[in-house]
């Protein structure tokens, strides 16, 4: 059993680990982004270690949330062990999806790397290799610039400039043992990121004050979403929104034309398509407890609405109500779908 305390840059070390795991048969597949034609990145389920030379873990841009890629084929545990190489927020969302019955984590090893953030999709489109600078918010998506949870998640993580491997769960430890790898001692040292995290936290707090003053209240929300064209892209890219048919699209829940006309008559006008706020606030009610502030909603929005910052702020509030943290230990119950006979008395009058 030779300990690995690599001095390589994190990426190649992680890919070596993945290749070794495949070759040894410790895993049947590795979920990792790969370079696609034209230079963008696409998630791939890799079974042949030779294919890993095109892999690019934690690529400069987040195109599809890794947890959504995982959920697309990991609903049940059959098919052997999987190693998923993810950003911390992707691992957290995977845990949430497991709580929502969409992923079975029984045979999945969630491995994360310290995440420097992601460049906006527009930047990535213009320059496929433009890289995020964790200390320079102008290179990052707005939510990445506020993110303080960019390290130390999942079953195991590769952290720090030397990419040392830390096992965070029994499953992670068992996986490394199978490969004959001794994980680094103790939990990942987070002190090295304390200054950056504090700065991010300050930025987040300031942004929320701004959001509340600018868009607080019903009128403010109306103004926030006035450019919304109802394309539902925010919902489709969201890793948490997995419903086959969203409540807003259900035929038997649609507002009949007569009612819309009546509304138009009463208020002088009605916006079409209707129910913009109903969609966004409804979505908040449904997914807020599991929101991992990944920011894909905002990055993908064609109308440049700061919906990610708003969702993140609301999520801070709603999870706070329940003392819950999205993506925390897999055994914890999710308030949204956990019903106890005796609960929530503190919210009664």
């Amino acid at each position: 059993m030779s300990p690995i305390m690599p001095a390589f840059p994190a990426h190649s070390g992680v890919l070596e680990l993945a290749g070794a795991a495949l070759a040894a048969g410790a895993v049947r597949g590795v979920l990792v982004p790969m370079r696609a034609p034209g230079g963008s990145r696409a998630w791939s389920l890799v079974t042949d270690p030779a294919m890993l030379d095109r892999a690019d873990p934690l690529p400069p841009a987040m195109t599809v949330h890794g947890s959504r890629a995982l959920a697309s084929f990991a609903r049940s545990p059959e098919g052997g062990t999987l190693l998923a190489i993810l950003r911390p927020c992707e691992a957290r969302a995977a845990v949430e999806l497991a709580r929502l019955g969409q992923i079975d984590l029984a045979n999945v090893i969630l491995m994360t790397m310290d995440c420097p953030g992601s460049v906006p999709l527009d930047t990535h489109r213009a320059d496929r290799e433009a890289a995020p600078d964790p200390a320079d918010p102008s290179t990052l998506r707005s939510l990445c610039a506020q993110c303080q949870a960019f390290a130390g998640e999942g079953d195991l993580c590769a952290t720090g400039p030397s990419g040392s491997l830390h096992a965070l769960t029994a499953g992670g430890r068992a996986f490394l043992e199978k490969l004959g790898i001794e994980p680094a001692d103790g939990p990942p040292p987070m002190e090295r990121y304390a200054v950056l995290a504090a700065e991010r936290g300050r930025r987040a707090a300031e942004d929320r004050i701004l959001l509340r003053s600018e868009y607080g209240g019903l009128a403010g929300l109306v103004r926030l979403f006035s450019g919304c064209i109802g394309c539902r892209t925010c919902r489709t890219v969201c890793p948490i929104c997995y419903c086959r048919l969203c409540f807003i699209d259900m035929k038997d829940r649609r507002t009949p034309a007569e009612e819309l006309l009546a509304r138009s008559g009463r208020n002088g006008a009605v916006r079409l398509p209707p129910d913009t706020l109903l969609f966004h606030v409804g979505r908040m009610a449904h997914m807020s407890l599991s929101c991992v502030s990944c920011g894909l909603c905002e990055d993908a929005c064609p109308a440049d609405i700061p919906v990610g910052r708003m969702m993140s702020m609301v999520s801070e509030g709603t999870t706070g109500l329940f003392g819950y943290r999205a993506g925390s230990a897999p055994g914890e119950p999710l308030p949204l779908n956990t019903f106890l006979k005796d609960e929530l008395h503190e919210f009664e009058d």
Binding site: R75, S76, C243, R244, L245, D252, R253, L336, F339
Partner: protein, 413 residues
């Protein structure tokens, strides 16, 4: 016979309930207000609609006016929903095209001011009329029950119940972990218990499987498929029964507290019977139905339900056997609740939240398809699953989104 347009022919009947309603609000005004609603072809008052005269009048009106919907503004559905449903059925109208508006408990009995009460009743009736237009006919269904019974546990309660059932001609299969019948009472040498044991072993209608317990029990009331397994793991052939009586007794520990027999928790989980304080099974009602669990067809007798005397054990065994005899009649079609939940297989994403809120073990998960399904026989129409489903994939028949929305719109109009 339908009116021009979309509105079905609706009759509204406002019952005075003697002085109960008529004394508290102006029923004539309520009827007059209802008469102005779309689709209402007839709106009238009556003194006591549940009386023989009242019911006859209702039936006559349905027939002669060709009513397609009936709205009855009266007491609580808990009192007379069945009454008026039967009248409708007798008059040729599907019983689920009848909507009750409770203007007694919800208005007359709680509102002092007569004007206010009348206005409120009008709103409630308007909601009911609008909702009724969206009602859909539902067919009453049933299943043919398997009259045989399984008893788990051959102690006092189990033997007593088995004997009652066998004497009434039922095939009874009794399982017990021990190789000897009789349980705690026989072990203690109680002479009555010994006598009971001898009769039990001699009864030809009882099949005793010593040294076995249930390995799995898929199925539902009227159709359980019980597979016994021996202590060595040998599996016995499946026994098909209509009801299961849990008579597994209880044990006292060193500190003197009583617990269900070891392994009861596993059995309860298999049958999806909820357990409460101390691990004992939940009952339909502590006083009115203490031998039935919330799961149809699964009953409890004797110490399995909590510490009790031998006399109580035998009495509860009798109660359980009696319940089984009267509900599980050979060849009888058992009415099932038509207002069940339906899960859309297209919309279900397999999160299984519905299963966690179903008290009747009516929802199961199909791992291959990754979706949940409702057993319409076991479903009691409580609607928990439809409310809890995060994806909106479940619809509660008779409480569909358009029906609810119309009712709300009517009340708020």
């Amino acid at each position: 016979m339908t009116m021009a347009g979309n509105c079905p022919r609706t009759g509204v009947f406002v019952c005075g309930c003697g002085p109960n309603i008529a004394g508290q609000l102006d029923i004539e005004s309520v009827a007059a207000a209802a008469a102005g609603l779309d689709g209402v072809v007839l709106a009238e008052t009556w003194g006591l609609l549940c009386s023989p005269d009242g019911k006859r009048h209702l039936a006559d009106r349905i027939r002669e006016s060709g009513l397609e919907r009936v709205v009855i503004a009266a007491c609580s559905p808990r009192d007379h929903e069945k009454t008026f449903q039967d009248v409708c059925a007798g008059a040729g109208l599907n019983p689920f095209m009848m909507e009750m508006a409770n203007i007694r408990e919800h208005v007359a009995w709680v509102t002092r001011d007569r004007t206010e009460a009348t206005a409120k009743a009008v709103r409630i009736v308007t909601g009911a009329v609008l909702r009724s237009a969206a009602l859909r006919p539902l067919e009453q269904t049933g299943i043919v029950a398997e009259p045989a019974v399984a008893v788990v546990g051959a102690g006092i309660a189990g033997m007593a119940a088995a004997l009652i059932l066998a004497e009434e001609g039922r095939r009874v299969t009794v399982l017990d972990r021990s190789t000897e019948a009789g349980g705690a009472a026989v072990l203690a040498g109680n002479p009555l218990a010994v006598e009971l044991r001898d009769r039990f072993l001699a009864e030809p209608g009882i099949t005793f499987l010593p040294g076995t317990e249930p390995a799995e029990v898929p199925g539902f009331f009227g159709n359980f498929l019980l597979r016994p397994r021996s202590a060595t793991g040998e599996l016995f052939p499946i026994v098909r029964v209509g009801a299961i009586l849990l008579a597994t007794g209880c044990v006292r520990d060193a500190e003197g507290s009583c617990h269900p027999a070891e392994g009861f928790a596993v059995l309860a989980e298999m049958l999806r019977v909820e357990t409460g304080d101390g691990g004992f099974p939940s009952r339909r009602h502590a006083f009115l139905d203490p031998v039935s669990t919330p799961v149809s067809g699964v009953l409890v007798a004797g110490g399995a339900g909590g510490p009790c005397s031998i006399g109580s054990a035998v009495m509860s065994a009798g109660a359980a056997a009696g319940t089984i005899l009267s509900t599980l009649v050979a060849g009888r079609e058992m009415e099932t609740e038509p207002r069940t939940s339906v899960i859309s297989e297209i919309l279900c994403a397999g999160c299984r939240t519905c299963m966690t809120v179903c008290a009747y073990a009516a929802v199961s998960y199909d791992a291959e398809r990754g979706i949940c399904t409702v057993n319409a026989v076991l479903c009691k129409g409580c609607g928990n699953c439809a409310a809890a489903c995060p994806s909106g994939a479940i619809r509660a028949k008779h409480y569909m989104p358009d029906q609810i929305r119309r009712q709300v719109a009517g009340v708020l109009a």
